[in-house]
């Protein structure tokens, strides 16, 4: 009995510790083992910091033109100085400031785009998965149709109707990306519907709302967060692409895509104007993809450690 009590005391300490500190320690260890996850997290955090504390990091006005100081090279190359660390563009605007402001645009598009796509997709996918039968096959038919449309044409079309604004870009991404979320949600719902714990809840007398909100939705969060990371990275990437084509936010807004488009003409003579925002895009999407890979491993409860 004495042994038993000591064991319990030790466990009770563990219980408290383990629920908070140890869980973090464990996530830290997982992160440390998967070094690419660390890199991804750092990359992503720099972008988030840039987007949140924009005016603190870059005190200059991103729209302020100074034609006397146009096309200045970055600070580390000849002729540059630390007033404009990344140099200036053809209108003499500070590129560093604009790249930082661009992060705000990109993250806004990515975050809200994914939010809309995720909520929409989750609702549609859940309906298809739960109701099944004809409803399911109709929804899936529509989804497959949308996914088979030439994406760019679709976007050009909608942009032409709605016009160019940040809100429209977010809406377009949110709607066109929702089928992906719907498909994943449906697959997970179908899998969970047949899972032991849902059967067990039904035989305990549970009604559908309880099964959905207590058993299925919480278990959907892991896979959907992972998907959201990848999709957000893709949206940031596409937004830049659209910006480059002149289909995203108005040219006056300092977004990475717009900066790329503006710098294209000077690519041979003043390469930094397009390259530096380009690197920002690479930085962000690489970071988010690495992070997504790591989240996929961490959020799966089946891969979690079991404790004796």
């Amino acid at each position: 009995m004495a042994v038993h009590d000591t064991q319990r005391q030790a466990d009770s300490l563990l219980d408290v510790e383990q629920s908070i500190k140890d869980r973090f320690a464990y996530i830290g260890r997982l992160l440390w083992r998967d070094k690419s996850g660390v890199v991804g997290l750092i990359f992503f955090l720099t972008v988030v910091v840039a987007a949140v504390f924009t005016s603190l990091i870059a005190p200059l006005d991103p729209l302020a033109q100074d034609l006397r100081a146009s096309k200045m090279p970055p600070a580390w190359s000849e002729g540059g100085n630390w007033d404009h660390p990344f140099g200036t563009d053809n209108l003499g605007r500070d590129i560093f400031t604009r790249v930082i402001y661009g992060a705000r645009v990109s993250l806004t598009v990515g975050f809200f785009g994914v939010l809309i796509a995720g909520v929409l997709g989750m609702v549609i996918g859940s309906i298809a998965g739960f109701i099944g039968g004809r409803v399911d096959s109709t929804i899936m038919g529509i989804i497959n149709l949308i996914l088979s449309l030439p994406y760019l044409l679709f976007v050009v079309f909608i942009a032409a109707i709605l016009g160019r604004s940040l809100l429209n870009v977010i809406l377009i991404f949110g709607i066109t990306d929702s089928p992906i979320f719907a498909r994943v949600t449906r697959g997970e719902v179908l899998r969970m519907r047949d899972s032991g714990y849902v059967e067990s809840a039904i035989s305990a007398g549970a009604r559908w709302p309880r099964i959905i909100f207590d058993h299925i939705l919480p278990n959907l969060i892991g896979p959907l967060i992972t998907l959201a990371t990848f999709e957000m990275s893709a949206m940031i990437f596409y937004e830049a692409g659209l910006g480059f084509l002149g289909l995203s936010v108005p040219p006056s807004v300092p977004s990475w895509g717009n900066m790329l488009a503006a710098g294209r003409k000077y690519l041979t003579s003043y390469p930094w104007i397009a390259t530096l925002p380009g690197l920002a895009i690479v930085w962000t999407s690489l970071g988010m993809n690495l992070l997504g890979d790591w989240l996929r491993d961490v959020l799966d409860p089946r891969l979690r450690r079991s404790r004796k």
Partner: protein, 334 residues
């Protein structure tokens, strides 16, 4: 009888994010010509990892064979399997040592006909012509009890039932007349009536091929009707090894005794309460400092918590790793 496989002090570990899994902690045993040796243990006992280590099939990383040797003697020459190059090992595997796994699906290539797969093994290891390989393949299929072997030669794995697939895997395993067949839970995924067929097939093959068999299983029932000798593993160590009659009649390790008591006896009309072993299987993350079974053992005393029990020879064919003498009901001397 000559020893054809001598495994000495094998240690295999897995380096994972949770820590070091001590999967095999010093395993020593021998296999004699033509005998059937059963390795019995529960999940995590190290029975499969032992065999995978010997065959060089441990995924590295995270796994690593840290110590030991596995001396394989065939046609008068001996080599340590653990020292062979991957290419040499591939020649031994499927050549002198055939193997059968639990899941035939993962062993067979889904996009090749089963005839081609067997012929390929033959041409690769025996360097014979395609025509000769084909003839031999048909004979092999007949030998493992596949009806219409000429026709079935052209079939793909998905056209076979689970039991028939396992027969194909066995045909591949015996194709190059091996000295040893290693069978890892070969009947676990099969239904009882099909399991009986496969066990019967192994009984016949043993007679006709005079091959040594290592049969890895968790099922003490199948072992009783098949094995000559049994090796019981627990926590990555050998708990007990004995001839099959001895092991079932007078088990010397409390774990073996518990396992036998946990099996219901169908041939007795009054059901006795099953003997259950308390607790749960060992946590392999904890390095072995004492008897791995001490946690669950009703007979454990101070010494069991202080050192790892070595193999103690009770008779020429019975060894046990336990400090407690079950027959006398007291700790062993020395």
């Amino acid at each position: 009888m000559n020893t054809i496989l001598q495994v000495n002090d094998l240690v295999t570990k897995f380096y994972t994010v949770d820590g070091v899994i001590n999967a095999v902690n010093g395993v020593t045993f021998e296999l004699r010509e033509g005998e059937t040796l059963a390795i019995v243990g529960e999940s995590g006992s190290g029975k499969s990892v032992t065999m995978m280590s010997i065959l060089g099939l441990i995924p590295t990383p995270p796994g690593k064979v840290e110590n030991g040797e596995a001396i394989f003697t065939s046609f008068g020459s001996s080599h340590d399997l653990l020292q062979l190059t991957p290419a040499e090992l591939r020649n031994v595997r499927g050549g002198q040592i055939g193997f059968v796994f639990q899941d035939p699906i993962s062993t067979l290539n889904p996009i090749m006909t089963i005839g081609e797969q067997i012929s390929e093994t033959l041409t690769r290891h025996l360097r014979i012509s395609g025509e000769e390989a084909r003839e031999r393949t048909v004979k092999l299929l007949a030998q493992v009890g596949i009806p219409d072997p000429e026709l079935r030669y052209k079939n793909y794995p998905f056209q076979f039932s689970g039991g028939m697939r396992q027969r194909v895997v066995i045909a591949i395993a015996i194709a190059c007349t091996p000295q040893i067949i290693i069978a890892d839970e070969p009947t676990t995924a099969l239904d009882v009536t099909v399991q009986a067929q496969i066990v019967e097939l192994f009984r016949n093959l043993r007679e006709s091929l005079n091959v040594a068999i290592i049969w890895i299983t968790h099922d003490l029932g199948v072992v009783a009707g098949l094995a000559d000798r049994v090796l019981v593993m627990y926590g990555g160590r050998i708990a007990e090894t004995a001839s099959v009659d001895d092991l079932y009649e007078r088990p010397q390790h409390p774990y073996t005794m518990g396992l036998l008591g946990a099996l219901p006896r169908m041939d007795e009309s009054d059901s006795k309460r099953l003997v259950s072993i308390k607790g749960t299987p060992p946590d392999l993350l904890i390095p072995l400092r004492h008897c791995p079974f001490a946690w669950r053992c009703d007979y454990a005393f101070d010494r069991c918590w202080e050192e790892v029990p070595p193999q103690i020879e009770i008779s020429s064919h019975h060894k046990v790793s336990c400090f407690y003498d079950l027959e006398k009901g007291e700790p062993r001397d020395g």
